[in-house]
């Protein structure tokens, strides 16, 4: 086993370089969606290792195994037909117009359930029991992408979220095998159409290009052979089904091996490819730490993953404990994703998560709606989040959350007919009511600390102090807070 890269050695606090509030806040930002002052103080007092123990103390389980009450409201699709046969039954004896009406009703119900799932997830990001787990689920959702667009069934999207939940910190090998059987994925990447007689290569291609190896590590023929191994992998009644008669039982030559491989065999062989472990482990590192990685880091990360036989936990723990994670180049260098920005603001201002109809348009314009990644590559991230248009939307959305005026016409409903409600709820001003409970200077320090969580230049503090006035009122305090969330510093974590 190669020696651990020095940047991956655990950060050990010293008197010169203590585990201070900035570092504790950093941990909560990157391993979750931010922390309030008391949460940061608690983490700081525990020290980095105990803090990570606490964050990693979550079950590798579906949400419904953890709690029967904290689940998305999918009542709109209760009794929704589960299969093509059931839809046919619904259509039987109906005129074309009636069928059209049924279809529209079903689509509307499905969109409502998608909106409910997004709403549930946004709330859970902010106030769920296991922030690190949620952050990992969100990361893998952008890796093993599936989009709810194109009228994808809400029930399947929810099931996929649960599948990801089980494996997010589990064994990567089992994860790939699980996601390869996931009905929403089988739909999204057309494996439901992958049959012996007429193979569809889409899943096999993305499995290697995006999910496990990265481009350039396989040939077109490898894709063809792998696609044959996944023939007959489909779903029925919301469950994975293997259709024997659609499956190609012939011998396949793949990555220098030959045999009657099925999909699981292909996955096992892919995971032995030298490009796989570096590809996956650097993806996790980049998500939590920084994008530009030093020479030698990938190999060291990969060996942690392989050493653990693809168990993701040791890798995650090493990354979150590392010197690289707490380096000065790291803290405050990540551009918050739109979800991180919105969820963090809701959390740090202690707001109720606004209904998705009120946020959907903003999130869309910022470029990130959960369950709706732009394409199979997921969200690009980093500086791609920022351009002159999205920056205004980001600022305006945060100002809105901090009790400012609603961004005009950014409110869009997912389902048709819900527009009126969306507009009505947008008109209700934010519920944010900060209390004036200290002298101006302390108020500035308190709120900068609470929201930006890193020191800012004195001249900027002075601007904030000026805006607060000598006799702060609730209204001037609110305006100052709106200014803080309109600072470039607030875009970073």
């Amino acid at each position: 086993m190669p020696k651990l890269h020095p940047l991956l050695e655990p950060f050990v606090p010293t008197s010169d370089d203590p585990f201070d509030a900035v570092k504790a806040a950093h941990l909560l930002n990157r391993a979750g969606f931010g922390g309030l002052p008391d949460e940061i103080a608690r983490i700081q007092s525990m020290g980095p290792q105990a803090a990570i123990d606490l964050l990693m103390d979550f079950p590798d389980a579906r949400a419904e195994e953890v709690s029967q009450s904290d689940l998305p409201d999918l009542s709109s699709i209760e009794g929704y037909p589960k299969s093509f046969q059931e839809i046919r039954k619904l259509y039987a004896g109906k005129t074309q117009d009636e069928r059209q009406a049924i279809q529209q009703m079903l689509q509307q119900a499905n969109r409502e359930a998608i909106a409910a799932t997004i709403a549930w997830w946004m709330k859970r990001f902010a106030n769920g029991p296991y922030p690190l787990h949620e952050k990992l689920v969100f990361m893998w959702h952008g890796h093993f992408t599936t989009s709810a667009k194109d009228e994808r069934a809400a029930a399947l999207m929810w099931n996929q979220n649960e599948t990801i939940r089980r494996f997010a910190a589990g064994n990567f090998r089992e994860f790939v095998k699980g996601i390869s059987r996931d009905p929403a994925m089988l739909d999204y990447l057309n494996n439901t159409q992958n049959r012996k007689q007429k193979p569809n290569e889409n899943y096999a291609r993305e499995l290697m290009e995006l999910f496990t190896l990265g481009i350039g590590n396989y040939s077109e023929d490898d894709i063809k052979q792998a696609a044959r191994a996944f023939t007959g992998w489909t779903h029925e009644d919301g469950e994975y089904r293997f259709r024997k008669y659609d499956h190609d039982e012939g011998a396949k030559a793949f990555f220098g091996k030959r045999g009657n491989f099925n999909g699981d065999d292909i996955i096992d062989i892919i995971l032995m490819h030298p490009a796989c472990a570096p590809y996956i482990s650097t993806k996790v590192f980049r998500w939590f730490v920084y994008e530009e990685i030093e020479p030698g880091l990938a190999e060291s990360l990969a060996s942690i993953l392989k050493q653990a036989d693809w168990d993701l936990r040791p890798l995650i723990r090493t990354i979150l404990s590392s010197k690289a994670f707490y380096a000065s180049r790291t803290i405050g260098s990540q551009i918050k994703s739109p979800v991180q920005l919105v969820v963090g603001t809701v959390k740090l201002l202690e707001l109720e998560m606004p209904p998705p109809l009120r946020l959907y348009g903003s999130l869309e314009q910022m470029g990130q709606v959960p369950l709706m990644p732009p394409n199979v590559k997921g969200w690009p991230g980093g500086r791609m989040w920022i351009n002159t248009s999205t920056l205004f939307v980001r600022y305006n959305t945060c100002v809105f959350l901090a009790g400012g005026s609603a961004p005009m016409r950014q409110i869009k409903a997912i389902g048709k007919g819900a527009n009126k409600n969306a507009r009505a709820s947008a008109e209700a001003t934010g519920s944010f009511k900060p209390t004036v409970d200290a002298p101006p200077k302390e108020l500035v320090d308190y709120w900068v600390n609470r929201l930006i969580q890193r020191p800012i230049p004195d001249d900027k503090k002075q601007i904030l102090l000026d805006s607060l006035g000598t006799n702060p009122t609730e209204s001037s305090l609110k305006q100052m807070i709106q200014l803080i969330v309109s600072m470039p510093e607030y875009q970073l974590c």
Binding site: Q96, E292, M408
Partner: protein, 447 residues
């Protein structure tokens, strides 16, 4: 009212002579102004005014426009037979030749046609047509039918390849998000639904602006006259430092990036708001998002924004049921919008440098369905408008009886039209952008 040229010059003076640090120069100026070396700022001001560049306006008809009820093969029995409930009577059709004519509600476009400002290209499509809205739209946007994970579009690649600097104004899209067609790897276009939304909506604008300036920018302190040079040197120095460590992303470089983008946003928001507020044309644009979008575009062209491509959409073309009422209405909106826009542009004397193009992700099935509508199809006509197009009906109309799964078989690959526009209108080689050399249509443009 100050015109954009003089205010832009004001900004340049403020940006380059009152402020000392490179970080305070908006991003879209640094690669141009700073690259100008010792040349006078005036050169850039000329360039930025955009008074001479050619402009493409793309109109996307979303949902799959029924080509056969737009450019109607009125003389073909097969048309009338396939669509007994939704066909147009030959006596209502605005005839272009002895085979096809325009939808009755396209009278304003017929007028443009008669005045030599409209070209119709028949049977446009691509091999192995995809009938999913999303996928087919992506194909039209990326011009890469075989690449399902393309992250940039044909116009985005045009910006990346040919537009110097990173001026965000090169592409402006009216809509909540930028279309994939306009996304480049380096350049992302501006996008907004309405210009009023493309601004900071917080109350304290003044302090917001102060907080979004670079830390080391004493905005009130006059600097030495040689400031631009210093700024450039500083900028170069920072670049060299970063190259040494090979680390581009640090808290400081991210702050610099955000601050510069915020300043870009401020300048362009001010420009665009001023231009659109001051634009009150006498022509009647449709009162919907599409019509108002075209009006906004006309205002930005008039204001001299250095934009090469504008993009606007008209939606609702997915006419699976009860097609006639809805489609007739959409045709009217399209015609009114395009007609008002062209008159507006003509009055501004900008008609010489504006080309309009319409497209949809696919046409619709030849045979009507049981709900008085049509299902997703394949090939369909495209329109081009402008003073420099060659009037006429181009390309071969697909057969209405020799079909592929009930759909028209394309006779013109859309990438040939893209290639023609890129080469002959946007003056750029098309091969690098489209991946291979598609034949151009020599008769399409008179330039």
């Amino acid at each position: 009212m100050l015109d954009s040229v003089s205010t832009r010059r004001l900004f340049l003076q403020r940006g380059l002579t009152l402020v000392s640090a490179a970080v305070t120069v908006p991003t879209f100026l640094d690669n141009t102004v700073l690259a100008l070396d010792q040349k006078a700022d005036g050169a850039r001001v000329q360039q930025a005014s955009g008074k001479d560049g050619k402009i493409l306006v793309v109109i996307q008809l979303s949902g799959g426009n029924d080509g056969l009820n737009t450019v109607i093969p009125w003389a073909d029995d097969a048309y009338h037979k396939a669509r007994p409930a939704i066909r147009h009577d030959p006596k209502d059709v605005l005839k272009l030749n002895n085979y096809v004519g325009l939808h009755p509600n396209l009278a304003p476009l017929k007028e443009l046609y008669d005045n030599g400002k409209m070209a119709v290209i028949q049977g446009v499509g691509y091999p192995n047509p995809n009938r999913s809205h999303f996928r087919s739209m992506d194909i039209w946007h990326t011009a890469q039918p075989d690449n399902e994970v393309a992250t940039n579009g044909w116009l985005g690649r045009f910006f990346d390849n040919t537009c110097a600097g990173v001026d965000p104004h090169v592409g402006v899209s009216i809509g909540a998000t930028a279309p994939l067609a306009m996304k480049g790897d380096r350049i992302t276009p501006l996008s907004f639904e309405r210009p009023e939304n493309y601004r900071y909506t917080g109350k304290d604008r003044e302090r917001y602006e102060e907080l979004n300036q670079a830390d080391d920018a004493p905005a009130t302190q006059p600097a030495e006259p040689s400031a631009p040079k210093t700024a450039r040197e500083k900028f170069e120095q920072a670049k060299i430092e970063r190259a040494k460590t090979k680390i581009e992303i640090t808290p400081a470089s991210q702050m610099e990036f955000l601050t510069r983008t915020a300043m870009d946003a401020r300048v362009s928001s001010d420009d665009i708001l001023r231009m659109t507020r001051g634009h009150n044309p006498q022509y009647q644009y449709p009162a919907n998002g599409f019509g108002q979008g075209l009006k906004t575009i006309a205002a930005m062209i008039k204001g001299g924004l250095p934009t090469r491509v504008y993009y606007v959409s008209l939606g609702g073309f997915d006419t699976h049921a009860g097609e006639r009422g809805r489609h007739d209405q959409l045709m009217q909106q399209l015609a009114q919008g395009v007609s008002a826009f062209l008159k507006d542009i003509q009055q501004q004397e900008n008609d010489d440098r504006v080309l309009l193009m319409t497209f949809s992700e696919f046409g619709r099935r030849v045979t009507q369905n049981a709900s008085g509508g049509t299902d997703h199809g394949a090939a369909a006509p495209m329109f081009l408008f402008g003073k420099n197009i060659q009037q006429g009906v181009l390309g071969q109309h697909p057969s209405l009886t020799k079909l592929d799964q009930g759909d028209l078989i394309y006779t013109v690959d859309f990438r040939s039209i893209y290639a023609t526009i890129l080469q002959k209108w946007l003056d750029t080689p098309s091969k690098a952008i489209l991946g291979s050399q598609f034949p151009t249509m020599e008769k399409l443009l008179r330039v």
